[in-house]
């Protein structure tokens, strides 16, 4: 019976397009992410959030009557598969792409700019892509790793008795991503007169004991842990084990509820992280989503994930993208293509997704949206914000962005 039902469905589907052409084509987003290799710790929830938000928008009637469609594919973090998926989705008419994979995003940057389609690189990809003139079609949308490091440092400066004279250790995975905050922290150390040292542990970070023995001897006042996935919980455990108080552990955005489970929810109490988006369902968008998408069973994944850190980040990215599309449709007169959408992004002003995220303003120059974020603390049960949405040291961040952008323009 089930099979027949499916057959019937397929038949309906086959007839479907003919009927659908009467309406306008949906707006297509290519969410071509890594579900099987390096980013498995985040992609599932993140992508679920993205899909669910688009479903919500569609349920609510779309934007100006236009619907959204997500093209979801696995790239396995392999550039070649990413390129193929990109080209295919572009053929299908996608005008916005999100790879959530640094290698794949990097491999596509040039092509996307040439093809004039929008590439959003929230929390991954090139940090210098925030330079809007150099990368007109690339939108980090959220704070770069440089901004994240700056916000964490700023928090210590504001709430933990100032940075001056402190010793800060950066314990990072041995990869370009792990090393990214180093120049910002070096500059800050000079400006704010604190001591800074970087410690690298080998990828994937499941064993870090030697590094932490060294870190302990450095006697840092604060530790920034800069990794992703399983390595993060190992870092927290090792830090605690080596006598570093949980309160002095600061993490990049990649530290989520699952990591807390892994470390032990109580043991991790006090650990702080940079947060780009509010967690939980205590938010207008999320509550509407639960009501209209999750409860009717239209969700793209397990209900348990709804409201988790990465889920909400996914929701926020799509909230921004849909907002950009709305602005583009509202203000544009031509068809909604990549260029129109790009212009839409650059019209975003003080958009906070009904409080889900910091108010961002994207301009032609600044595709980062101001580098906002806040610090949240693990209470043993959940992430509790301990600072307001803020942005910090954007002058230093900006100089780093410009330096990278200049290098890119120079041929690299």
């Amino acid at each position: 019976m089930r099979l027949f039902a499916k057959l019937g469905f397929a038949a309906a589907l086959a007839l479907g397009p003919a009927a659908a052409t009467a309406q306008e084509e949906p707006i297509k987003f290519g969410l071509l992410q890594d579900f099987t290799a390096v980013y498995t710790f985040v992609s599932g929830e993140y992508n679920q959030g993205q899909q669910d938000y688009l479903t919500l928008v569609n349920e609510e009637g779309g934007i100006d009557g236009r619907m959204f469609e997500a093209i979801v594919r696995d790239t396995g973090n392999e550039p070649q598969r990413g390129i193929e998926a990109y080209n295919r989705a572009r053929e299908e008419g996608a005008i916005l792409f999100d790879f959530l994979s640094t290698p794949v995003s990097r491999a596509i940057v040039d092509q996307a700019m040439q093809d004039e389609v929008v590439l959003i690189t929230p929390l991954h990809g090139r940090g210098d892509a925030a330079a809007g003139q150099t990368f007109p079609y690339v939108f980090p949308v959220m704070a770069t790793y440089w901004s994240q490091a700056a916000i964490l440092a700023d928090y210590i400066n504001e709430n933990e008795g100032g940075l001056e004279g402190k010793k800060i250790a950066l314990v990072h995975i041995d990869s370009p991503f792990g090393r990214e905050p180093t120049p910002i922290l070096e500059d800050l150390a000079e400006q704010e007169s604190f001591e800074f040292r970087a410690f690298a542990y080998p990828s994937p970070g499941n064993e870090q004991s030697a590094v932490w023995s060294e870190v302990r001897r450095y006697r840092p006042d604060a530790v920034f842990i800069w990794g992703a996935g399983g390595g993060q919980s190992v870092s927290v455990r090792e830090a605690i084990r080596n006598g570093i108080s949980a309160e002095n552990i600061y993490s990049v955005v990649w530290l989520a509820e699952t990591d807390a489970q892994n470390v032990g929810v109580d043991a991790m109490e006090g650990v702080k992280r940079y947060e780009a988006v509010a967690t939980g369902t205590d938010n207008p968008i999320l509550s509407r989503m639960v009501e209209q998408v999750i409860e009717p069973g239209l969700g793209a994944g397990g209900e348990a994930n709804v409201g988790s850190s990465y889920y909400n980040i996914g929701v926020a990215t799509m909230a921004v993208a849909v907002e950009a599309a709305r602005l583009a449709i509202e203000n544009g007169d031509g068809p909604l293509d990549g260029t129109a959408l790009k212009n839409g992004f650059e019209m975003i002003e003080d958009f906070d997704a009904e409080g889900l995220m910091p108010p961002i303003t994207i301009t032609t120059e600044d595709h980062q949206g101001g580098g906002f974020g806040r610090v949240a603390r693990w209470t043993g049960e959940e992430w509790e914000p301990v600072s307001d949405w803020t942005t910090a040291y954007q002058d230093i961040v900006r100089s780093e962005i410009d330096a990278g952008a200049a290098e890119y323009s120079g041929g690299n």
Binding site: V72, G76, N87, A107, V109, D110, E407
Partner: protein
């Protein structure tokens, strides 16, 4: 059926040993080449750029490795590192203003030198131990690339290829890059086929089959093993450069990771050790199968035919991919080349069962 063997006779050893002495094979090669040459005219950019072009480059890579694994019998699980050396060398040279042709040559030479160091292990051990040794060297090369910003390209660890011209011909647009890759793949295929027919190739095969026996008949295993590594690494390095310039147009360390080495070995094995057509088939299989599966499964999912979680659907290609490798090794260890050969033989003896009747 379409093979006509009668009337083929050789009036000298040169003609007896020429490539494709069967006209039908010759026509097939000509037809495939003609299709390949005309591809930019009738293949959409999507397929040209993300299927045919990478397939050609990976075929060249598989052939380069097959030269070593198939002919000389030397296992190599660090071949991506060899290609990385070529890619990085060429890109740095090109950025420094060296003409592209020379940059590619430099890429080949650098890879050849470092690749031959890999071969040093082969002088001492073979089999599993050689696998381990080359694997370890892959890690070393990766580490150096990642940890030396001068090589990997600074904070972003991305190097973009500058626009180049090869002997006056630009290599920029998709079709230009496609033709360049095609030329390299064809050149390499011809080289491979001819190596098999030289004394060098036969010496390699002798070493592969039994190295001390080869030594007894006067083939110096040391010299020829190093020569094999040298040659293979040279073409591997050039292929790395072609991969960087014609396909990725930007190199990052991840493009040459350990997984890529495994994929290359899979290409060679699935294709069939030491076979040219196997190189092409194996590369196509390993490269394109996951992509095709991903799309097929996504389409099936979208049409409601399969109702699985996003997570499982994403993993299905990986599952099939692993299962196919196992399947090949269990049921057709000689790879796709053997399957091709069986099909060819089926038609070669058509309408009979074997050539005896």
């Amino acid at each position: 059926m379409f093979y006509r063997l009668s009337g083929i006779h050789h009036t000298g050893y040169a003609s007896a040993h020429r490539l494709w002495s069967v006209p039908a094979d010759r026509w097939q090669v000509v037809a495939v080449l003609a299709l390949a040459l005309l591809a930019p005219l009738f293949v959409s950019d999507l397929y040209l750029g993300s299927y045919v072009l990478p397939w050609l480059v990976w075929s060249a890579a598989a052939l380069s490795l097959s030269l070593l694994m198939g002919l000389a019998g030397q296992l190599h699980f660090g071949y991506a590192a060899v290609m990385a050396i070529g890619a990085y060398t060429s890109i740095h040279l090109a950025q420094a203003g060296v003409p592209f042709a020379l940059a590619i040559l430099g890429a080949g030479l650098t890879s050849a030198v470092i690749g031959t160091l890999f071969g040093a292990a082969a002088l001492r051990v073979k089999g599993l131990y050689l696998v381990m040794a080359t694997l370890a060297m892959q890690y070393l090369v990766d580490w150096v690339i990642v940890n030396v910003p001068a090589i990997s390209g600074g904070a972003q660890a991305t190097l973009r290829t500058p626009d180049v011209t090869f002997l006056g011909l630009p290599v920029e647009t998709l079709s230009q890059r496609y033709y360049f890759a095609l030329a390299w793949a064809v050149l390499l295929a011809l080289f491979f086929m001819n190596v098999k027919r030289t004394s060098f190739g036969r010496a390699l095969i002798a070493i592969r089959d039994k190295d001390f026996a080869a030594a007894v008949i006067g083939v110096d295993p040391f010299r020829f093993k190093l020569m094999a590594f040298l040659t293979s690494s040279f073409v591997g390095g050039v292929t790395g450069a072609v991969l960087a310039f014609c396909y990725y147009r930007a190199v990052t360390p991840e493009q040459f990771s350990f997984n890529v080495s495994i994929q290359l070995v899979a290409m060679v094995l699935v294709g069939g050790l030491g076979s040219v057509i196997g190189g092409f088939l194996g590369a196509g299989f390993v490269l394109l199968l996951p992509i095709i599966l991903t799309n097929a499964i996504a389409d099936l999912g979208a049409s409601g035919w399969i109702d699985l979680s996003q997570n499982l659907m994403a993993h299905l290609p990986l599952i099939f991919y692993g299962a196919m490798i196992i399947g090949f090794l269990l049921f057709e260890p000689l790879g796709l080349a053997k399957i091709y050969d069986n099909v060819r033989k089926y038609f070669l003896v058509w309408p009979f069962r074997h050539s005896g009747s």
